[in-house]
């Protein structure tokens, strides 16, 4: 003992760190990564690697040469952005476009706000939406999933997503029932990932496994996912019950497109979501309603990314408006 350390209480701390939280999220995404590689093969490997490395490199360059701050590319947050960006693009996206996505995600979406903890919007979604608007063709040309070691079912290399089939079909005046035969079996295939789409969003099951891990390790809480899920089910359920020929059932909405990825991995991003449990519930509910509005009435077949980004913008307001219940606020006797 040289000299006594004197500091204010508390003198013990939970065994937690920013790094542990961030890498916990990375580990939770491993099942979905494996499924994406299974269905989209080398294309998925390439997309994942390019995206993660590009995100880390962009952050490194900005921190080292532009703002000359401490380099923190191994804190896990850039990796998460990289994986999420990869999850949100098709497996055949050209490398250059992907790099542009990474520059926008990290450069504009994260570092321009001041880096980790200060970004208003989910960086991966900023990158994704930028690409979707700038490169609409490349971003919506989906490779047909082909399981490893299996013969291709069709000769087609690319095909539409279930949501795309539905949107175009309904726009052409067909009913949901007429379109159903064209859609994959959505309790079986859509759960396990045998559908066209972005590489990380295809398997609801793999995403749920990762989400369960995050919930058990308390990296995320139930508030955002449950309220998001319920608002999707309730809102799409009302539409479905009002006219089953025009509107598809809630389960379809849940297992298709980026819904599971959005609910569990992007809406729950702690930096860009509200901090109090009450605020998180409002946030999740808003995401759900906007997602369905866009999917059903909007121009895009998919609405998760836009919905979360729109709600991200409301977070400062939600944080101000929905305070936790203060102890002793109301006199109860």
């Amino acid at each position: 003992m040289d000299a006594l350390v004197v500091s204010g209480s508390p003198h013990v701390h939970a065994d937690q760190s920013v790094k542990k939280v961030m890498y916990g999220v990375v580990y939770a995404m491993i099942p979905a990564m494996l499924v994406s590689i299974y269905f989209f093969g080398l294309g998925a490997v390439r997309v994942l690697l390019v995206s993660v490395i590009a995100c880390m490199a962009v952050e490194y360059i900005i921190q080292k040469y532009l703002i000359r701050s401490e380099v923190t590319i191994f804190d896990g947050s850039a990796i998460i952005t990289g994986v999420l960006l990869a999850f949100n693009v098709p497996g055949n996206l050209p490398t250059l476009i992907l790099v542009i996505g990474a520059i926008v995600a990290i450069g504009v979406g994260k570092m321009s706000f001041g880096g980790l903890g200060k970004n208003v919007f989910n960086p991966a979604l900023v990158g994704r939406v930028f690409l979707l608007i700038s490169f609409p063709v490349q971003m919506t040309t989906w490779p047909v999933p082909k399981p490893l070691f299996a013969a291709a079912i069709t000769d087609a290399i690319t095909g539409p997503t279930p949501l795309g089939i539905l949107k175009e079909g309904l726009a052409a005046g067909k009913t949901v029932q007429e379109l159903m035969p064209q859609l994959p079996d959505y309790v079986g295939n859509l759960m396990t990932g045998y559908q066209g789409g972005c590489i990380g969003e295809v398997s609801a099951l793999a995403l749920i496994i990762g989400a369960a891990y995050m919930l058990i390790r308390r990296i995320i809480t139930w508030h955002v996912p449950v309220s998001y899920l319920l608002s999707v089910v309730i809102f799409s359920g009302i539409l479905w019950l009002s006219d089953p020929t025009m509107y598809v059932d809630p389960l379809f909405h849940l297992v298709t497109g980026g819904m599971m990825l959005g609910i569990f991995y992007m809406a729950t991003d702690m930096v860009s979501s509200p901090m109090s449990p009450k605020g998180q519930i409002i946030f999740g509910a808003g995401c759900g309603i906007i997602t369905i509005l866009i999917r059903v009435f909007g121009a895009y077949p998919e609405g998760v990314s836009f919905a979360i980004l729109i709600m991200n913008a409301f977070v400062p307001l939600i944080d101000r408006a929905f305070k936790p219940v203060r102890f002793g606020e109301t006199v109860k006797r």
């Binding site: 006594l4 204010g8 508390p10 003198h11 013990v12 760190s17 903890g117 901090m275 102890f327 002793g328």
Partner: protein
């Protein structure tokens, strides 16, 4: 389902290393250092001077203000000098320093082990006796106990709550006291009930002490109006407002005292001290102190005379100072880091905790990732991250509106923060500034 409080709370690792060590009497030190301000409120006025002979139990400083407490000598011997010493809070305070000679007690103190059950004093007499014997809250807050028994005009005490929670990790002094002096505590509770004029008392004990729960239950079975309630383990359950919420589901309004909801809370240690004071005529000059930590060979519970230097306790328990980086008076969540080994044990010292060198320094501070865990952890329903930010921007008015003064400094926010942000440090700074602003407004 075990009862607990609803809002917030955390689960630090318990490390009750000394839970099975019976209370042993610590040999007398050569010198004791007795500060004249060991309680909340005004310091007591010194009655002795250098060279005076004193006996154990003799009043050496008188608490003259309404909120103050008398101080008694804990040993017999000669007053060596009256000087400033550093106390556990790190401040220099006036103290009576006594050279120990023998162990002679005041004659009026009943030193027998026999338990005196019959309470002869009336309500007024009880309060007076507790005042005379210098009893203060033994849980750590050290609020003079007789003041707590004087219910303000217009308020009515309905229920006495006895705090046997001991929610701080490591500490076991209350646990051992309940196991070994449970019968005395029961009499002490009866005295407190009579002093308050209530007919009901509840003893709250966290369920990580099943032996204490069962023993106190068996004792309470023979008593009218006293119940023992086991509580789910959760920090900070021993906080007054949280304990009241857990036990009787009443919420003390912001900025008010428990009496607002008809409750008065006393610690089990205080109940024991009250027993000794009223039934045995014994002033508060010794207490149970847990000496523990990962660098202590024999984690112990000692009966210690007030004023004993901490170094004496540490060497008696086999503390390895070479591997120790920090020494804490109290528990790891709310205790104070000591500035030296010469600091004396005072009435509110429930434990001495040695922290290993590698765990002594704070974790590296990172940026806030807005995870919201501080909000979920805060037992007062505050937003620690926001308070921290407001104070760092010197926005005191806004911090006041966000109820910064409700913070009781339990430390759950800093404990849970994955970014290691010293939220409580900011809040402490803010509370002192906002407190100044509120006081200046009153003038």
């Amino acid at each position: 389902m075990l009862k607990t409080f609803k809002t917030g709370g955390v689960h630090p690792e318990e490390y009750k290393l000394s839970g099975s060590s019976p209370i042993s009497v610590l040999p007398l030190p050569e010198k004791v250092f007795i500060p004249v301000s060991q309680h909340l409120g005004a310091p007591a006025k010194v009655l002795v001077k250098k060279g005076d002979p004193v006996k154990a139990g003799q009043m050496i400083a008188r608490g003259e203000a309404f909120i103050s407490a008398h101080i008694h000598s804990s040993v017999s011997g000669k007053v060596s000098r009256i000087d400033e010493v550093t106390d556990p809070s790190g401040y220099r305070r006036m103290a009576v320093i006594i050279d120990v000679e023998g162990d002679e007690w005041e004659e009026h103190i009943d030193r027998s082990q026999e338990i005196v059950r019959e309470i002869t004093l009336d309500q007024k007499g009880i309060i007076q006796k507790i005042n005379e014997m210098g009893i203060v809250g033994m849980g750590g807050a050290t609020f003079p106990s007789h003041v707590k028994l004087m219910v303000p005009e217009g308020k009515k005490a309905e229920i006495l709550i006895i705090n046997g929670v001991e929610c701080e990790p490591y500490l076991t002094s209350d646990h051992r006291l309940m196991l070994e002096r449970g019968e005395e505590i029961m009499v002490g509770i009866r005295i407190l009930m009579k002093g308050l004029g209530v007919t009901r008392a509840i003893i709250g004990i966290e369920n990580n002490k099943p032996d204490a729960v069962n023993y106190m239950k068996s004792l309470a079975a023979g008593e009218d109006g006293i119940d023992v309630v086991p509580l789910k383990v959760k920090y900070p359950q021993g906080a007054e407002k949280q304990l009241i919420k857990a036990l009787i589901n009443r919420e003390v309004p912001s900025g008010r005292l428990p009496i607002e909801v008809g409750a008065i809370v006393h610690n089990v240690g205080t109940a024991f001290a009250v027993y000794e004071a009223v039934q045995k005529n014994k002033p508060l000059f010794e207490r149970v102190v847990t000496v523990t930590g990962k660098t202590v060979k024999n984690p112990s519970n000692f009966m210690v005379r007030i004023g004993t230097p901490v170094s004496h306790l540490i060497s008696s328990a086999g503390g390895v100072l070479e591997e120790t980086g920090k020494i804490i008076a109290g528990g790891p969540m709310m205790g104070k880091a000591l500035t030296s080994l010469d600091v004396p044990v005072i009435k509110g010292t429930s434990g001495i905790l040695l922290i290993r060198s590698d765990e002594s320094r704070r974790v590296e501070q990172n940026t806030c990732i807005r995870c919201g865990r501080c909000i979920s952890a805060c037992p007062m329903g505050l937003e620690p991250w926001l308070l921290g930010k407001l104070i760092s921007h010197q926005e005191y008015e806004r911090a006041e509106k966000e109820r910064i003064m409700d913070c009781m400094e339990c430390g759950s926010c800093h404990f849970i923060c994955p970014a290691g942000i010293p939220l409580l440090d900011w809040i402490r700074v803010g509370k002192s500034r906002v407190g100044q602003i509120i006081r200046s407004r009153g003038k």
